[in-house]
Subunit: 130 residues, 2 copies
DNA sequence: ATCCCTGCAAAGAGTTTGCAAGTAA
DNA sequence: TTACTTGCAAACTCTTTGCAGGGAT
């Protein structure tokens, strides 16, 4: 698993050009513009490979299909559990401190990939009151 | 949506008695012991209601079906993206500080429900090397 | 040659939904 | 008697997989 593949290349390009946290389906549609013959299963397969290679990140969603993010720069995500909106933001999370705490409490080393804030955004909150 | 229902009660009981982060399927099997006639769709429906009511929390998994957690005590989760193991731990996350940062950066108020650490546990890491 | 790759179509996992009937307030 | 609930089965969404052929090294 590491050969060249122009389909895989195209998917990674799409992810680089696209900072909208697309779903697999959305990635598929975007890649179609470059590789008009690509199949959806190839897209799914290569997304998984790119996640395994650490080139892109999977965002586990409460709502709807999972989304993906290109790791252009260290940043954090806040996700609304109601509408699924994803907010990028920068926050200096002390991974080492959390790692140490984990080691102390659960006696395991965890390689931290990301920290995700789940909550309810103000739009959904006000909708609930209506 | 708030009437009494012994099925819903039974599901909540199962969640209270069970701190193993069960999947919907596992909850179904556990509830069957109390309510031998309950159907799977009722379980799914009520899990969603209990999540909406804020009684239980949905844990968005990278691997396998989503899992649920009863909110017996404020705690954090670290989830292995490879094997799906969930580790409970305590960490004093400054929600107010993060909220303020979010407000500053994205100009939205987010009600933070939970913060989840995603990573790779040491067992999976050593397996990869084999 | 060998290994990884692809498209296609079919299958799979997990979850939601429409409906007619039942239960609570 | 109104509003919410249930079980059943079918539908649905998202993702993975087997296979036969194609491409890279």
């Amino acid at each position: 698993m590491n050969n060249y593949s122009k389909q895989r290349e195209a998917i990674l390009d799409v992810m680089k050009e696209n900072r909208t946290h697309p779903t697999a389906e959305e990635i598929y549609k975007l890649v179609l513009e470059k590789e008009s013959q690509i199949s959806k299963s190839t897209v799914y397969r290569n997304i998984n490979i790119l996640v395994d290679l650490g080139k892109i990140r999977k965002l586990n969603m409460t709502v709807g299909p999972d989304r993906y993010d290109y790791l252009y720069k260290e940043h954090s995500h806040a996700i609304c559990e109601k509408c699924g909106k994803i907010f990028d933001f920068y926050y200096d999370i002390d991974k080492d401190k959390i790692s140490n705490e984990l080691l102390k409490q659960i006696e395991k080393n965890i390689d931290i990939n990301s920290i995700i804030i789940y909550g309810i955004c103000e739009d959904c909150k006000s909708k609930n009151k209506e």
